[in-house]
Amino acid sequence: MPVTERDQLAAAARAAGLRLASQDLDHLLVAWKRYRALVDDLRGRVAPDPMDDDD
Protein backbone atom coordinates (compact mmCIF):
# COMPACT_ATOMS: atom_id res chain seq x y z
CA MET A 1 0.00 0.00 0.00
CA PRO A 2 1.56 3.32 -0.98
CA VAL A 3 2.58 5.60 1.85
CA THR A 4 1.90 9.24 1.08
CA GLU A 5 3.72 12.24 2.46
CA ARG A 6 0.55 12.96 4.44
CA ASP A 7 0.66 9.48 6.00
CA GLN A 8 4.33 9.92 6.90
CA LEU A 9 3.64 13.28 8.47
CA ALA A 10 0.72 11.87 10.45
CA ALA A 11 2.96 9.10 11.77
CA ALA A 12 5.70 11.56 12.70
CA ALA A 13 3.17 13.78 14.45
CA ARG A 14 1.80 10.84 16.44
CA ALA A 15 5.32 9.82 17.41
CA ALA A 16 5.96 13.38 18.61
CA GLY A 17 2.87 13.16 20.81
CA LEU A 18 0.75 15.58 18.78
CA ARG A 19 -3.00 15.15 18.53
CA LEU A 20 -4.12 16.27 15.09
CA ALA A 21 -7.59 16.52 13.62
CA SER A 22 -7.75 15.76 9.89
CA GLN A 23 -8.01 19.46 9.08
CA ASP A 24 -4.96 20.19 11.29
CA LEU A 25 -3.02 17.61 9.35
CA ASP A 26 -3.95 19.31 6.07
CA HIS A 27 -2.69 22.67 7.36
CA LEU A 28 0.42 21.10 8.82
CA LEU A 29 1.18 19.38 5.53
CA VAL A 30 1.23 22.69 3.67
CA ALA A 31 3.55 24.22 6.28
CA TRP A 32 5.69 21.09 6.35
CA LYS A 33 6.27 21.12 2.59
CA ARG A 34 7.34 24.76 2.69
CA TYR A 35 9.56 24.05 5.68
CA ARG A 36 11.25 21.06 4.00
CA ALA A 37 11.91 23.03 0.83
CA LEU A 38 13.55 25.85 2.80
CA VAL A 39 15.62 23.51 4.97
CA ASP A 40 16.77 21.35 2.09
CA ASP A 41 17.83 24.46 0.19
CA LEU A 42 19.63 25.78 3.27
CA ARG A 43 21.38 22.46 3.85
CA GLY A 44 22.55 22.44 0.24
CA ARG A 45 24.09 25.89 0.63
CA VAL A 46 25.54 25.61 4.12
CA ALA A 47 26.27 21.97 4.70
CA PRO A 48 26.36 20.01 1.45
CA ASP A 49 26.47 16.26 1.85
CA PRO A 50 30.18 15.34 2.33
CA MET A 51 29.68 12.21 0.16
CA ASP A 52 28.75 14.31 -2.86
CA ASP A 53 32.43 14.63 -3.83
CA ASP A 54 32.82 10.83 -3.97
CA ASP A 55 30.27 10.28 -6.72
Binding site: L18, L38, V39, V46
Partner: protein
Amino acid sequence: MTDDPAEMSMTAVVRALRGRTLSPVELVDAYRDRIEAGRDLRAYITPPGATARRQAQRAAERLARRDRGALLGVPIALKDLYATRGVRTTAGSRILRDWVPTGDAALVTRLRQAGAIIFGKTNLHEFAYGVTNANPWWGIAKNPSDPRRSPGGSSGGSAIAVVGGMCAAALGSDTGGSIRIPAALCGCVGLKPTRGALPLDGVFPLGWSLDHAGPLTRTVADAGLLFEVLAGRPAPRPVRTRGLSVGVVRGPLTTRIQPGVRARVEAASGALRRAGLRVRDVRIPELEWAVATQLVTLRAEASAVHARWIRRRPRSYGADVRVRLQLGALVSGADYVVAQRARHRIREAIGQAFSDVDILMLATAPMTAPLIGDRVVRWRGVAEPVDGALVRLTSPFNLSGLPALSVPCGLAGGLPVGVQLVGQWNDEARVLAVGRLIEELAQ
Protein backbone atom coordinates in the same frame (compact mmCIF):
# COMPACT_ATOMS: atom_id res chain seq x y z
CA MET B 1 5.93 71.80 19.51
CA THR B 2 2.32 70.69 19.90
CA ASP B 3 0.10 71.88 22.77
CA ASP B 4 -1.82 68.61 22.87
CA PRO B 5 -0.13 66.49 25.55
CA ALA B 6 -1.13 63.30 23.73
CA GLU B 7 0.92 64.42 20.72
CA MET B 8 4.09 65.37 22.59
CA SER B 9 7.27 63.35 22.38
CA MET B 10 8.29 61.56 25.58
CA THR B 11 11.30 63.84 26.07
CA ALA B 12 8.99 66.86 25.74
CA VAL B 13 6.65 65.26 28.28
CA VAL B 14 9.55 64.80 30.71
CA ARG B 15 10.51 68.48 30.34
CA ALA B 16 6.93 69.66 30.73
CA LEU B 17 6.35 67.54 33.83
CA ARG B 18 9.56 68.78 35.46
CA GLY B 19 8.74 72.35 34.51
CA ARG B 20 5.26 71.78 35.91
CA THR B 21 3.63 73.13 32.79
CA LEU B 22 1.89 69.76 32.51
CA SER B 23 0.56 67.52 35.28
CA PRO B 24 0.72 63.73 35.17
CA VAL B 25 -3.02 63.59 35.83
CA GLU B 26 -3.75 65.84 32.86
CA LEU B 27 -1.46 63.67 30.75
CA VAL B 28 -3.08 60.41 31.84
CA ASP B 29 -6.53 61.82 31.09
CA ALA B 30 -5.43 62.94 27.62
CA TYR B 31 -4.11 59.47 26.81
CA ARG B 32 -7.22 57.78 28.19
CA ASP B 33 -9.41 59.97 25.98
CA ARG B 34 -7.40 58.82 22.98
CA ILE B 35 -7.67 55.19 24.05
CA GLU B 36 -11.44 55.53 24.30
CA ALA B 37 -11.69 57.28 20.93
CA GLY B 38 -9.47 54.67 19.26
CA ARG B 39 -10.98 51.62 20.91
CA ASP B 40 -11.71 49.98 17.54
CA LEU B 41 -8.00 49.86 16.75
CA ARG B 42 -7.62 47.25 19.54
CA ALA B 43 -4.37 48.67 20.84
CA TYR B 44 -4.87 47.46 24.38
CA ILE B 45 -5.78 44.13 25.93
CA THR B 46 -5.91 45.66 29.40
CA PRO B 47 -6.27 49.44 29.17
CA PRO B 48 -4.90 51.54 32.01
CA GLY B 49 -7.41 51.64 34.87
CA ALA B 50 -7.98 53.73 37.95
CA THR B 51 -4.58 52.69 39.36
CA ALA B 52 -2.85 54.68 36.62
CA ARG B 53 -4.64 57.85 37.70
CA ARG B 54 -3.68 57.22 41.34
CA GLN B 55 -0.07 56.71 40.26
CA ALA B 56 -0.32 60.01 38.37
CA GLN B 57 -1.57 61.79 41.48
CA ARG B 58 1.33 60.42 43.52
CA ALA B 59 3.77 61.41 40.77
CA ALA B 60 2.34 64.94 40.82
CA GLU B 61 3.06 65.15 44.55
CA ARG B 62 6.61 63.94 44.03
CA LEU B 63 7.17 66.41 41.17
CA ALA B 64 5.92 69.19 43.42
CA ARG B 65 8.58 68.15 45.97
CA ARG B 66 11.17 68.35 43.16
CA ASP B 67 11.78 64.59 43.35
CA ARG B 68 13.83 63.38 40.45
CA GLY B 69 13.28 60.22 38.47
CA ALA B 70 14.24 59.96 34.83
CA LEU B 71 10.64 59.07 33.94
CA LEU B 72 8.76 60.45 36.93
CA GLY B 73 5.08 60.71 35.99
CA VAL B 74 5.57 59.39 32.44
CA PRO B 75 2.93 56.81 31.33
CA ILE B 76 4.56 53.84 29.58
CA ALA B 77 2.48 51.02 28.03
CA LEU B 78 3.68 47.41 28.06
CA LYS B 79 3.22 44.70 25.49
CA ASP B 80 1.10 42.18 27.33
CA LEU B 81 3.86 39.64 27.71
CA TYR B 82 5.74 41.63 30.37
CA ALA B 83 4.81 40.22 33.77
CA THR B 84 3.14 42.85 35.95
CA ARG B 85 2.55 42.27 39.63
CA GLY B 86 -1.18 42.05 40.31
CA VAL B 87 -2.16 42.84 36.71
CA ARG B 88 -3.34 40.17 34.25
CA THR B 89 -0.67 39.20 31.75
CA THR B 90 -2.10 37.20 28.85
CA ALA B 91 0.72 37.07 26.28
CA GLY B 92 -2.16 37.60 23.86
CA SER B 93 -3.35 34.08 24.49
CA ARG B 94 -6.41 32.23 25.70
CA ILE B 95 -4.20 29.92 27.76
CA LEU B 96 -2.95 32.74 30.01
CA ARG B 97 -6.16 34.81 30.01
CA ASP B 98 -6.41 34.64 33.80
CA TRP B 99 -2.72 34.74 34.73
CA VAL B 100 -1.99 37.42 37.32
CA PRO B 101 1.75 37.41 38.07
CA THR B 102 2.99 37.84 41.61
CA GLY B 103 6.01 39.85 40.47
CA ASP B 104 7.15 42.33 37.85
CA ALA B 105 9.42 41.66 34.89
CA ALA B 106 12.90 43.08 35.47
CA LEU B 107 12.33 45.92 33.00
CA VAL B 108 9.01 46.82 34.63
CA THR B 109 10.87 47.14 37.93
CA ARG B 110 13.36 49.49 36.26
CA LEU B 111 10.54 51.60 34.85
CA ARG B 112 8.88 51.84 38.25
CA GLN B 113 12.22 52.76 39.86
CA ALA B 114 12.56 55.60 37.33
CA GLY B 115 9.11 56.86 38.36
CA ALA B 116 7.18 55.75 35.25
CA ILE B 117 3.47 55.06 35.40
CA ILE B 118 2.73 51.55 34.11
CA PHE B 119 0.04 52.40 31.61
CA GLY B 120 -1.86 49.31 30.53
CA LYS B 121 -1.04 46.18 28.57
CA THR B 122 -1.05 46.26 24.79
CA ASN B 123 -2.29 43.81 22.18
CA LEU B 124 0.08 41.43 20.41
CA HIS B 125 0.08 38.48 18.07
CA GLU B 126 -0.82 35.42 20.16
CA PHE B 127 2.26 34.52 22.25
CA ALA B 128 4.18 36.99 20.03
CA TYR B 129 4.33 34.21 17.44
CA GLY B 130 3.48 36.09 14.26
CA VAL B 131 3.79 39.49 12.63
CA THR B 132 0.22 40.44 11.65
CA ASN B 133 -1.34 40.97 15.09
CA ALA B 134 -4.55 39.25 13.97
CA ASN B 135 -5.28 38.01 17.46
CA PRO B 136 -8.19 35.53 17.63
CA TRP B 137 -8.74 36.02 21.37
CA TRP B 138 -8.27 39.74 22.01
CA GLY B 139 -9.20 41.30 18.70
CA ILE B 140 -7.57 42.01 15.36
CA ALA B 141 -5.36 45.07 15.80
CA LYS B 142 -5.73 47.75 13.11
CA ASN B 143 -3.32 50.20 11.57
CA PRO B 144 -4.03 53.83 12.57
CA SER B 145 -3.17 55.02 9.04
CA ASP B 146 -5.78 52.73 7.49
CA PRO B 147 -7.89 50.44 9.70
CA ARG B 148 -8.32 47.96 6.86
CA ARG B 149 -4.63 47.22 7.18
CA SER B 150 -2.47 45.37 9.67
CA PRO B 151 -0.32 47.34 12.11
CA GLY B 152 2.31 44.62 11.86
CA GLY B 153 3.39 42.66 14.88
CA SER B 154 3.90 41.12 17.13
CA SER B 155 4.13 44.37 19.14
CA GLY B 156 1.32 45.89 17.06
CA GLY B 157 -0.67 47.19 20.02
CA SER B 158 2.37 49.05 21.35
CA ALA B 159 2.94 50.73 17.98
CA ILE B 160 -0.73 51.75 17.70
CA ALA B 161 -0.66 53.16 21.24
CA VAL B 162 2.45 55.24 20.48
CA VAL B 163 1.24 56.54 17.12
CA GLY B 164 -2.29 57.10 18.42
CA GLY B 165 -1.24 59.24 21.38
CA MET B 166 -2.40 56.62 23.88
CA CYS B 167 0.81 56.61 25.96
CA ALA B 168 4.15 58.45 26.04
CA ALA B 169 6.03 55.36 24.85
CA ALA B 170 5.70 51.59 24.99
CA LEU B 171 7.75 48.44 25.39
CA GLY B 172 7.70 45.63 22.88
CA SER B 173 9.67 42.49 22.18
CA ASP B 174 11.42 41.43 19.00
CA THR B 175 12.23 37.85 17.99
CA GLY B 176 12.24 38.28 14.21
CA GLY B 177 11.34 41.95 13.84
CA SER B 178 8.40 42.34 16.21
CA ILE B 179 9.39 45.81 17.42
CA ARG B 180 10.75 47.17 14.15
CA ILE B 181 8.03 45.87 11.80
CA PRO B 182 5.04 47.46 13.58
CA ALA B 183 7.10 50.61 14.14
CA ALA B 184 7.71 50.83 10.38
CA LEU B 185 4.15 49.95 9.35
CA CYS B 186 2.53 52.34 11.84
CA GLY B 187 5.03 55.21 11.62
CA CYS B 188 6.95 55.32 14.89
CA VAL B 189 10.47 54.54 16.09
CA GLY B 190 11.38 51.01 17.23
CA LEU B 191 14.66 49.95 18.81
CA LYS B 192 15.85 46.37 19.10
CA PRO B 193 18.95 46.77 21.25
CA THR B 194 21.97 44.49 21.29
CA ARG B 195 21.09 40.99 22.43
CA GLY B 196 21.57 40.82 26.20
CA ALA B 197 21.65 44.60 26.74
CA LEU B 198 18.22 44.43 28.35
CA PRO B 199 17.17 41.62 30.72
CA LEU B 200 14.34 39.36 29.62
CA ASP B 201 13.40 38.07 33.07
CA GLY B 202 9.64 38.10 33.32
CA VAL B 203 9.08 38.52 29.58
CA PHE B 204 7.12 35.52 28.30
CA PRO B 205 9.59 33.80 25.95
CA LEU B 206 9.16 32.94 22.29
CA GLY B 207 12.61 31.88 21.07
CA TRP B 208 15.29 31.84 23.76
CA SER B 209 18.24 32.66 21.48
CA LEU B 210 16.36 35.26 19.40
CA ASP B 211 14.26 37.24 21.88
CA HIS B 212 15.02 40.92 22.54
CA ALA B 213 13.17 43.55 24.56
CA GLY B 214 13.04 47.19 23.52
CA PRO B 215 11.09 50.45 23.19
CA LEU B 216 8.65 51.88 20.64
CA THR B 217 8.55 55.66 20.72
CA ARG B 218 7.57 58.80 18.82
CA THR B 219 11.12 60.07 18.35
CA VAL B 220 14.64 58.68 18.25
CA ALA B 221 15.56 60.80 21.28
CA ASP B 222 12.71 59.12 23.17
CA ALA B 223 14.09 55.71 22.23
CA GLY B 224 17.53 56.74 23.46
CA LEU B 225 16.22 58.00 26.79
CA LEU B 226 14.06 54.94 27.37
CA PHE B 227 16.91 52.63 26.42
CA GLU B 228 19.21 54.31 28.94
CA VAL B 229 16.66 53.85 31.71
CA LEU B 230 15.98 50.24 30.76
CA ALA B 231 19.65 49.35 30.42
CA GLY B 232 20.61 51.19 33.58
CA ARG B 233 23.33 52.96 31.65
CA PRO B 234 24.34 56.62 31.77
CA ALA B 235 23.59 58.64 28.66
CA PRO B 236 26.27 58.00 26.02
CA ARG B 237 28.45 60.87 24.93
CA PRO B 238 27.13 62.65 21.84
CA VAL B 239 28.30 61.06 18.61
CA ARG B 240 29.48 63.08 15.62
CA THR B 241 27.72 61.73 12.57
CA ARG B 242 29.73 63.65 9.97
CA GLY B 243 32.25 61.28 8.39
CA LEU B 244 30.55 58.10 9.61
CA SER B 245 30.40 55.38 6.99
CA VAL B 246 26.98 53.94 6.11
CA GLY B 247 26.64 50.77 4.06
CA VAL B 248 23.39 50.49 2.10
CA VAL B 249 22.60 46.77 1.84
CA ARG B 250 22.12 45.65 -1.77
CA GLY B 251 21.58 42.25 -3.37
CA PRO B 252 18.81 39.72 -3.91
CA LEU B 253 17.46 40.17 -0.37
CA THR B 254 16.61 43.78 -1.12
CA THR B 255 15.45 43.47 -4.74
CA ARG B 256 11.91 42.40 -3.81
CA ILE B 257 10.81 45.76 -2.37
CA GLN B 258 7.84 47.92 -3.25
CA PRO B 259 9.01 50.85 -5.41
CA GLY B 260 7.59 53.43 -3.02
CA VAL B 261 9.47 51.89 -0.09
CA ARG B 262 12.67 51.75 -2.10
CA ALA B 263 12.30 55.41 -3.06
CA ARG B 264 11.96 56.50 0.59
CA VAL B 265 15.03 54.52 1.65
CA GLU B 266 17.05 55.90 -1.28
CA ALA B 267 15.94 59.40 -0.32
CA ALA B 268 17.12 58.83 3.26
CA SER B 269 20.53 57.54 2.13
CA GLY B 270 20.87 60.51 -0.24
CA ALA B 271 20.10 62.90 2.60
CA LEU B 272 22.78 61.28 4.76
CA ARG B 273 25.31 61.66 1.95
CA ARG B 274 24.48 65.35 1.59
CA ALA B 275 24.84 65.70 5.38
CA GLY B 276 28.46 64.57 5.19
CA LEU B 277 28.29 60.85 5.85
CA ARG B 278 30.11 58.44 3.58
CA VAL B 279 27.46 56.27 1.95
CA ARG B 280 28.40 53.20 -0.05
CA ASP B 281 26.82 49.96 -1.21
CA VAL B 282 27.36 46.72 0.70
CA ARG B 283 26.61 43.19 -0.40
CA ILE B 284 26.13 40.37 2.12
CA PRO B 285 24.93 37.33 0.13
CA GLU B 286 24.57 35.21 3.28
CA LEU B 287 21.63 37.37 4.37
CA GLU B 288 19.58 35.42 1.83
CA TRP B 289 19.72 32.46 4.20
CA ALA B 290 18.22 34.39 7.07
CA VAL B 291 14.53 33.57 6.55
CA ALA B 292 15.17 29.81 6.45
CA THR B 293 17.63 30.00 9.33
CA GLN B 294 15.22 32.03 11.40
CA LEU B 295 12.35 29.69 10.54
CA VAL B 296 14.11 26.52 11.70
CA THR B 297 15.59 28.14 14.80
CA LEU B 298 12.34 29.74 15.90
CA ARG B 299 10.12 26.74 15.11
CA ALA B 300 12.32 24.57 17.34
CA GLU B 301 12.77 27.08 20.15
CA ALA B 302 9.11 28.13 20.38
CA SER B 303 8.08 24.50 20.31
CA ALA B 304 10.30 23.90 23.35
CA VAL B 305 8.51 26.68 25.26
CA HIS B 306 5.07 25.30 24.37
CA ALA B 307 5.95 21.57 24.42
CA ARG B 308 3.37 20.60 27.02
CA TRP B 309 0.45 22.83 26.02
CA ILE B 310 0.63 22.11 22.29
CA ARG B 311 0.32 18.39 23.01
CA ARG B 312 -2.31 18.56 25.74
CA ARG B 313 -4.54 21.42 24.59
CA PRO B 314 -3.90 22.26 20.92
CA ARG B 315 -7.38 23.81 20.48
CA SER B 316 -6.41 26.52 22.97
CA TYR B 317 -4.23 28.11 20.27
CA GLY B 318 -5.35 30.09 17.24
CA ALA B 319 -5.01 28.25 13.93
CA ASP B 320 -1.84 29.98 12.70
CA VAL B 321 0.10 29.66 15.94
CA ARG B 322 -1.08 26.08 16.43
CA VAL B 323 0.33 24.92 13.10
CA ARG B 324 3.64 26.74 13.74
CA LEU B 325 4.02 25.01 17.09
CA GLN B 326 3.03 21.62 15.70
CA LEU B 327 5.56 22.03 12.94
CA GLY B 328 8.17 22.98 15.53
CA ALA B 329 7.59 19.70 17.34
CA LEU B 330 8.79 17.93 14.17
CA VAL B 331 12.03 19.87 13.69
CA SER B 332 14.94 17.44 13.90
CA GLY B 333 18.18 18.01 15.73
CA ALA B 334 19.94 17.76 12.36
CA ASP B 335 17.81 20.58 10.95
CA TYR B 336 18.54 22.74 13.98
CA VAL B 337 22.27 22.15 13.56
CA VAL B 338 22.14 23.14 9.90
CA ALA B 339 20.37 26.34 10.92
CA GLN B 340 22.98 27.13 13.57
CA ARG B 341 25.78 26.60 11.04
CA ALA B 342 24.01 29.01 8.70
CA ARG B 343 23.54 31.43 11.56
CA HIS B 344 27.24 31.35 12.34
CA ARG B 345 28.05 32.12 8.70
CA ILE B 346 25.51 34.96 8.62
CA ARG B 347 27.03 36.50 11.75
CA GLU B 348 30.52 36.23 10.31
CA ALA B 349 29.44 37.81 7.03
CA ILE B 350 27.74 40.73 8.79
CA GLY B 351 30.82 41.16 10.97
CA GLN B 352 32.97 41.28 7.85
CA ALA B 353 30.74 43.99 6.39
CA PHE B 354 31.36 46.08 9.50
CA SER B 355 35.08 46.08 8.81
CA ASP B 356 34.29 48.67 6.10
CA VAL B 357 31.32 50.59 7.50
CA ASP B 358 30.00 51.92 10.82
CA ILE B 359 26.30 51.43 10.14
CA LEU B 360 24.25 49.20 7.84
CA MET B 361 21.12 50.65 6.29
CA LEU B 362 18.17 48.98 4.58
CA ALA B 363 14.38 49.11 4.59
CA THR B 364 12.77 47.75 7.74
CA ALA B 365 10.04 45.97 5.79
CA PRO B 366 9.93 45.51 2.02
CA MET B 367 6.32 46.67 1.91
CA THR B 368 3.88 49.04 3.53
CA ALA B 369 1.13 47.70 5.78
CA PRO B 370 -0.68 44.76 4.13
CA LEU B 371 -4.45 44.46 4.13
CA ILE B 372 -5.73 42.44 7.07
CA GLY B 373 -6.14 38.86 5.89
CA ASP B 374 -3.63 39.08 3.03
CA ARG B 375 -1.46 35.97 3.12
CA VAL B 376 0.70 36.40 0.06
CA VAL B 377 2.53 39.28 -1.57
CA ARG B 378 3.49 39.03 -5.25
CA TRP B 379 6.71 40.31 -6.73
CA ARG B 380 6.40 40.33 -10.50
CA GLY B 381 4.21 37.27 -10.25
CA VAL B 382 6.36 35.42 -7.70
CA ALA B 383 4.43 34.78 -4.50
CA GLU B 384 5.97 35.24 -1.06
CA PRO B 385 4.08 34.63 2.22
CA VAL B 386 3.34 37.96 3.92
CA ASP B 387 4.81 36.81 7.23
CA GLY B 388 8.05 35.72 5.50
CA ALA B 389 8.28 38.98 3.56
CA LEU B 390 7.77 41.10 6.66
CA VAL B 391 10.64 39.45 8.56
CA ARG B 392 12.97 39.15 5.55
CA LEU B 393 14.93 42.31 6.31
CA THR B 394 14.72 42.27 10.12
CA SER B 395 15.40 38.65 11.12
CA PRO B 396 19.12 38.70 10.19
CA PHE B 397 19.68 41.00 13.13
CA ASN B 398 17.88 38.74 15.58
CA LEU B 399 20.15 35.96 14.40
CA SER B 400 23.20 38.20 14.83
CA GLY B 401 22.03 40.00 17.99
CA LEU B 402 23.20 43.37 16.66
CA PRO B 403 21.35 46.59 17.58
CA ALA B 404 18.81 47.71 14.97
CA LEU B 405 16.57 50.75 14.84
CA SER B 406 13.57 51.49 12.63
CA VAL B 407 13.02 55.18 11.90
CA PRO B 408 10.10 56.65 9.94
CA CYS B 409 11.30 57.96 6.58
CA GLY B 410 8.14 59.19 4.90
CA LEU B 411 5.09 57.74 3.22
CA ALA B 412 4.47 55.52 0.23
CA GLY B 413 0.92 55.49 -1.08
CA GLY B 414 -0.10 57.35 2.06
CA LEU B 415 1.29 54.63 4.34
CA PRO B 416 4.32 54.88 6.65
CA VAL B 417 7.72 53.54 5.63
CA GLY B 418 10.58 52.73 8.00
CA VAL B 419 14.31 52.66 7.34
CA GLN B 420 16.44 50.29 9.41
CA LEU B 421 19.85 51.17 10.84
CA VAL B 422 22.07 48.41 12.20
CA GLY B 423 25.14 48.90 14.34
CA GLN B 424 27.96 46.89 15.77
CA TRP B 425 27.66 45.04 19.06
CA ASN B 426 26.64 47.45 21.87
CA ASP B 427 26.89 50.44 19.52
CA GLU B 428 23.40 51.80 20.13
CA ALA B 429 24.91 55.29 20.40
CA ARG B 430 25.87 55.56 16.72
CA VAL B 431 22.68 53.86 15.56
CA LEU B 432 20.63 56.37 17.51
CA ALA B 433 22.76 59.31 16.34
CA VAL B 434 22.26 58.44 12.66
CA GLY B 435 18.58 57.75 13.31
CA ARG B 436 18.20 61.15 14.86
CA LEU B 437 19.87 62.72 11.85
CA ILE B 438 17.45 60.97 9.46
CA GLU B 439 14.59 62.25 11.58
CA GLU B 440 15.92 65.82 11.45
CA LEU B 441 16.62 65.69 7.72
CA ALA B 442 13.09 64.45 7.04
CA GLN B 443 11.55 67.48 8.77
